[in-house]
């Protein structure tokens, strides 16, 4: 098989995963200007909940195909519970404060949730490997790929397209864009900014949990997975331009392809791949690929 094709396929699969774990983070920053470090814990909560619920489903002897539905249900539940609790219970009291304060607040939430996970699930890993191979596999040349990788790719495209459609084609999406551009002006025009924040954070939390749920079948779910993931997600969001959905998508593709090429051609550079992309992009465009020109307020 042509090695270039392998680089492309591996790169796109990895990019899909990167986009899925980063999209919730960029959505929340885009709307609320909050660099949500707790996103890593929401990812971990999604993974744990999916492993528990889908694992229970399979262990009870139900149709294994139903485990996919259980994974999504688990992620949605995490988003619907954790999102409102964090936003209504804590973040809304912090709006208007400096961005760095909000980073510290979400870091505190991250630490609390990490301990909550250990208290709830313990430190032993959870395995949910069945969904990864349940759909079978397909061959490209002499390489075999699980069909689940196509699911990841499809989910990344679906999430990206849906978000772009909602933001650009629906009335509520346009209201959200108005809040992104100018919160005070949007509020003056009658938009319920508080509600927009609530919905956005809940959606972002749900996306973080979906990322974890979709990753659960490929890893051993254990304490610490959130910390590893948040670093990658931040890198993607920064490369793409903070808060930019197309930027996050392009950054994920760039990082995925560069890492895949490094692994195939120069494995010793794998460690450096993502930071290489970040360094090059930030030298050329210090605010990321799709940074938005901001009007100066007087």
């Amino acid at each position: 098989m042509n090695q270039l094709l392998a680089v492309l396929i591996d790169g796109l699969i990895y990019s899909s995963w990167l986009f899925i774990i980063a999209v919730g983070l960029t959505l929340i920053y885009g709307v609320m200007k909050i660099l949500n470090i707790a996103h890593g814990s929401l990812y971990a909560l999604g993974a744990y909940s999916a492993a528990s619920l889908a694992g229970y489903w399979i262990n009870q002897g139900h149709a294994p195909m139903g485990s996919y539905a259980m994974m999504l249900v688990a992620a949605i539940l995490v988003g619907l519970i954790a999102g409102p609790v964090i936003e209504r219970g804590l973040l809304r009291f912090m709006y208007g404060k400096d961005e760095i304060v909000l980073v510290l607040v979400t870091y505190a939430v991250f630490l609390i949730l990490e301990d909550f996970i250990k208290l709830t699930w313990g430190v032993d890993p959870y395995f949910l490997y069945q969904p990864y191979s349940l759909l079978g596999s397909f061959d490209v040349g002499n390489l075999t790929y699980p069909v689940y990788n196509l699911v990841l790719f499809g989910m990344a495209v679906l999430i990206g397209v849906t978000l772009v459609w909602v933001l650009t084609k629906t009335r509520r999406g346009k209201m959200l864009v108005a809040v992104i551009h100018d919160r005070e002006m949007a509020a003056a025009m009658g938009i319920n900014v508080s509600l927009v924040y609530f919905v956005t954070f809940t959606a972002g939390a749900m996306l973080g949990a979906v990322g974890g749920a979709l990753t659960a079948p490929m890893i051993s779910v254990q304490p610490g997975i959130g910390a590893e993931t948040i670093v990658l997600a931040f890198a993607v969001v920064v490369i793409g331009g903070l808060g930019s959905l197309p930027g996050a998508a392009l950054a994920a593709v760039l990082v995925g392809l560069v890492r895949s090429a490094a692994v195939h051609y120069r494995p010793e550079l794998d460690l450096f791949a993502i930071y290489f992309v970040m360094a090059v992009v930030l030298i050329m465009r210090p605010k990321g690929l799709f940074s938005v020109q901001e009007a100066r307020k007087i």
Binding site: M1, Q3, A6, V7, I9, D10, G11, I13, Y14, W17, K118, V123, D124, P125, F127, Y129, Y132, S133, S137, N142, L143, T144, Y145, P146, N149, T215, P217, M218, I219, S220, Q222, P223, G224, I225, E228, T229, R259, S260, V263, H264, P267, E268, D270, L271
Partner: protein
Amino acid sequence: MDWNFSRPLKTAAAVLAGATLAITCATAHAQDKPIRIGLVTFLSGPAAGPFGVPAKMAADAIVDSLNAGKAPAPYNIKGFGGTPLELTIVDEAGGATKQVTELRNLIERQNVDFVIGYISSGDCLAVAPVAEELKTLTILFDCGTPRVFEEASYKYVFRTRSHATMDAVAGAMYLLENRPAVKSYAGINQNYAWGQDSWADFTAVMATLKPEATITSSQMPKFGAGQYGPEISALLQTNSDVIHSSLWGGDLEAFMLQATPRGLFNRSQLVLVAGEPYLHRLAGNMPDGTVVGARGPNGVYAQKSALNDWLRQIYKERAEIYPNYPAYSVAMAFLGLKAAYEKARGAGGGAPATDDVIKAFEFLNFDSPAGKVMMKLGKGHQAVTGTAYGTTRTVNGQVTVGDIKYYALERVQPPEGVKSLDWIKSGMKPGNW
């Protein structure tokens, strides 16, 4: 002046009696005061499940059993020389810088008498000079890097398990004895000290024993990478006979979960130099024919003895499964320290000074659940043992190990004064032990 001799005599007698009482009370108090041991092991993060928590559970079980005087001879005196043990447990997660601070806290604030700890090689390298500075006897119980005593010399630091060179040496020997026609091999190892050292040792041994075998790929994902799609594709494309890996923790588990459905192990035989702790965890995802090491004759490779039966029993009562190799590593640390402490205490009784325990510990031979341990390297501070390897086979859904071979220490360990890599490259001549 009319002298009354009876009064000073009475006073002297009272003072003497009071002093005697005070000394007796103080002695009794000293004997009742437990020996405080700081235990540092991973309680969170990817190393907790397979390594840190089994080590902690083993330590709890061992301390309870020793305090009750229920361990087999020669460890059947309660605690250490009759003095009970008390554990202060610290999470090893957080990196080397944090561990240096934690060690200072343990010694300077919590006033522990001894420290037993450290699974990560990076942590061992970082804390050893600090333990030396703080003059507290510290036992490295599980980390593998040979650099601790090959690149430095310590008075207060000991390691009661063999260093990791034998993992690669015996792993390659076992592989070539069972599959002499190996033509090519690849590796996937984490990109930090342990992974790099393990791959360097393995390739050096293969170059010595089978120079015609070619290296097809060396994958070095970062620690905690989690996603191995490109690495698995790259390894699949090499069609190597063998894949060497020192991956561990969540990284190994994720790699196995992702590689098995892609058929990587149908093309290549897997050698996991530290794979023993995962045998029960990866049932269903551990291919038959995987060569597995346990960093010594530990875990499934430990041979029957009163001490091994004891460890298996007390661990199973607590954990409901049999102990894996980190549990054996921590057992060696406690039993080695106990043997040294009681030797230093001697017939005279009383708590020995740290310097006396150190003297007794250097070049000590002691029994462990995995057999005889000899403190022969690092000027008597580094243990040596033989090791064992075997091959996996799944029976009734459980991963078992068969075709077990044991390797004497002189075949797999460099002698004193010779660096591991130099010894391997010079043909691995058995040392004079």
